[in-house]
Amino acid sequence: MSSALDRQVRPIYDALDTGSNKSAIVTCNKILKKQPKNELVKALKALALVRSQKVEESLVLCDEVLAAKPTDDGVLTAMMHVLRGLGRHRDTVVMFEDAFKKEPTNEDLGAQTFLSNVRAGHWKSAQQIATKLYKTFQEDRYLYWSVMSAVLQANDMSTSIAMRPVLYQLANRLISSSPTPSFHSADRFHLHLSILRELKLYDEAMKLLDSEIGIHICQSSLVCNEMRRDIYRLKGLLIEEGKKAEILITEKKDRNWLEFLSVIDATFSTVDSDKDATIAECSRVKDLFTGIMENDGKRDRSGLLALLELEKRCRQYGLPTDSTRMVDLIQQYFEKIGDKACCFEDLLPYVHLAGDDLSRWTSFLQSVPSTVTTTNELQRSTNSHKLLRHNLAQSDLTIEAELSRATLYTKQYLEGLQLGKDLPTTELQPADDLAILAGHAFISLWVLSNDEKYLLNAVSLLEFASSKSKQSFRIRLMLIRLYRILGAPSPALEHYRAMRIKQIQNDTLSHFLFSRSSMFSLAPSGDLTLMSEYVEASQIYINNSQDTPEFIVRAFTSEKYSQIPEFISFENRLECSLQRDISKLEHTRMRLAFEPVSVDIIDMELIESKFIFDREHFDNRDYKVMPNYQPRIQQTLNEQTLLFGKSEGLGWLWSFLKLYVRAFQHGSDLDETVEEKLLIGDRPKHIPNAHHCPLKERLHQRSEEELLELTPHELTYIRYADVLADWLEPHHDYVRPPPAVVLAEAAKQTELKTGHPLKGIELPVLDGISNGHKKDEEAPPVTEAPAELTTFFDDMKARFEKVKEQSSPTEALAVACLMQEALILFMLETLRFKQASVVKIHKLGNLVASFKAIRTHALAAVRDVSAQLVKMSENEGTVEQRKIIVDSCAEVTMSELDHDFVLNVAKKLSDARKKVLEGYGKGMLRVCTLYAN
């Protein structure tokens, strides 16, 4: 670049860096006046335009620059950002490939071309370019790039199963041809081993592993050692692995649990062929572990836990063993580790006892003193409660018995608080788990009796515990679930926010907030809280698609091959996250209630929901973060506290998605061919052969399995929606203007907006078809409106009458929400027929006339329910209502947890119910007004 030009463009870069896109555009225009052909300035202007959301204008410039096939580094870099902003990753690849073809000796350009293929996930061409780079520039790293690319191509979902071994063989040939051996670096070594493992060339792998340098690498590289362990196991070398592990344990004092497992696996590896030998080996290993246990004392619990695991396996394989030994060991473990929080979790795999064992263990636990004067005692007592609770039988789970447990836990909790009273607010209280246990018992009581007062007790106690231990996220998670069940979404949101959920947690934990959240959305009455929470949370997916590929590139440039498959899997799991699309769907449902349905919304939602429809989803939702101390014969706490006892899975998503994709397709003029032409940016990668039948057929399929994930109310709504869609589909398909007409209109709009014609579209002559009439097809007959469309509203209203008596408004809101949604869906499905010209040309007068009766009926029902919700809200937030709640909480109102505290909880709960009932009711009324005509 000449220094004069450099001086001229510097301000543009500065403006772009500081986000002043406007001033960047102004500067670009100034230079372009004098030098209209300056590619760099054009590229920078395109970038500034993309960043100011002026996509159409940017496209024009972008294509001009691309057509000139640039090779200048600055232009290429700017264009890379432009194309990324437009989602045109494939064009980036082509641009670099063209540039590299022009300058095949430019190494940097070659590497950039390779990396652009990496960003786009084009492993096949990446592999070819890397091979070419290696041939031309003779750098080892290019060879390894090509090896890695071949492996990634093999692992790609779009590669056929038959091709996979071929690609691995290619990778093996390439890596074997390397002039420097793979043990040059741990990551190259790891890559080599992974190829040999895949090809089952274990002997070759062993040769590498058993070499001096191989042993050395595995000693200091965890990833390589994990690979080594795996290869030994696959090769069946359990005994050798056991010996190695034993040396590590005894000589190097290694306490990695994996080593202990290796010793135990080795012990039982001959159990089928030589039982006597196994018995002898067992007793030797027992002595070994006993020695370690005695030696380590309290410093490390591996020895004792290994003895437990050994005993468990002995029993599994039916080897002779002392009948009392298992319980002896468990008790010994409790004696020693009982004052640590992890004791319960450590012992879980070993306490599934029965008969005499169980009664011995139970009476042992019952004899643990229930005093909580020291932290150690407190922890022991807590552990004994958890372990006792875990093994409770059905006969132990009566109301009386659970109630006395709840009271015991609560009393001990309040006593135990004394131990932590001087701790700073940033510390957890040592007694927290007792409050959590009491919460469990109250929830179990609710499950047993269906009496809401137990949930109120749980909330009061947990709110108190949360006020004493502000950092306990486990208490907050329980409260979030309980408030949602109790129909009080705003305190649930408060607790959610207090946990400072951010970044990746917006994917793994947002189910606590967004699960079935449209029933709590007050958007139509002007409160956009939930919708904006969604927008904020979904930012993580944008970050993922923008940032993660850059780190895959970095891992290539720093040759950390062991990380690359993991990064790709991470990116893919986040991109195709089930939670992402479940909350997206909830957002769509909220949005439809908030904005009047229009063609713009329909078109946009159609494209987005179709992308979702073709994804292979991954469930990243973290449920394990919820505590669970419920008896093992009961459901887990997580299952017990899901709204309506059901978690939305793939079946739920498909059920609703099919409904909405169909409805949006009906309402939209964008059929497949139009969409193809108008869409800017790449489509998501498709997996060939994953779906055998066409979209339209798949949309019509409803499977029992999917529908099982719905609540009864949701199921009724889906049935209604299907009837509605089936009834109107033929008319939509007939009336929809042909693609040519739609494209012509789009072209006209674009030209009006940008002054440039729409690129890449050749418009056919439109004479004769401009009115959209398909002359060669017969119009479908107009049929009578299905009765289900009106009876749905009657049915749902009847259900509402029934559930509104419940003190928690949650189910009433769920029914009301679906009624409102059904009304909106009806408006969406009939939007096309609002145009008088369409009705006239196609003689649809009779069809449209039948809409009115349905709409009037639906509006009346929704209005009625909305008025009732507002009425219900008037009963909340009152002195009487608070008193009812306070009186229900008698079980926990004691000592520090006094009447005043409970009264505050009651106020918070009842006010929140009032807010949601009133807001939802008024919102429904607004929706009705919107569609009254």
């Binding site: 929080a341 979790e345 850059e550 973060v625």
Partner: protein, 183 residues
């Protein structure tokens, strides 16, 4: 007693029981990926026998000449797994890799001047205060500790490449530097 294994990108999906703790920051995805794409061997996880994450350490290698060293960027253990010497084991691994693979002169880490439990732990492992960094941490709003709350000790432990222990000093607590002067 726990499984010591490498930190993987997908561990981000399951580290909530560690990261929801107030003392542990959840960084953006790029933070973890940038460490893993450069120093994967300085990042590891402790896992319980039934597969729950108990804690992790994230480290890097940096500095030039005799300042070349291993650095502990983040070390965290979930509340229910504290006092089980997990941090000690992860530190041992990080020191071993910094020594054998990176051939660093020392390992260093930053700790709040108020965090006596941690300081004692690190001293027990052979670390000593090299300097005090002013206003290194943002205020958590707890306030009780005053200045100590925001200042950090930079603690160091020499590795085998520094047999003369030139990377440490005895009067480190008195050496004050500002946060701008440290990397």
């Amino acid at each position: 007693m726990s499984v010591l294994r490498s930190f993987k990108a997908t561990d981000m999906f399951t580290f909530n029981n560690i990261n929801l703790d107030i003392w542990t920051e959840t960084y953006n995805v790029g933070f973890y990926l940038s460490y893993l794409s450069r120093w994967p061997d300085l990042c590891c996880v402790q896992e319980s026998p039934n597969g729950r994450q108990m804690g992790y350490v994230i480290g890097k290698a940096e500095g030039s000449n005799t300042e070349w060293h291993g650095h502990v960027t983040a070390i965290s253990v979930a509340p229910e797994y504290r006092r089980l010497s997990l941090a000690r084991k992860m530190m041992t691994l990080l020191e071993m890799v910094s020594d054998n693979i990176y051939r660093g002169y020392f390992v260093d880490l930053y700790v709040r001047c108020t965090n006596n439990v941690a300081i004692e732990l690190y001293e027990g492992l052979g670390y000593s205060v090299y300097r005090r960094v002013r206003e290194y941490y943002g205020n958590l709003g707890v306030g009780k500790g005053g200045r100590d709350e925001e200042d950090a000790f930079d603690m160091r432990k020499p590795l085998s490449r520094d047999p003369g222990r030139r990377s440490v000093r005895t009067n480190g607590r008195d050496m004050l530097v500002s946060a701008h002067d440290v990397p």
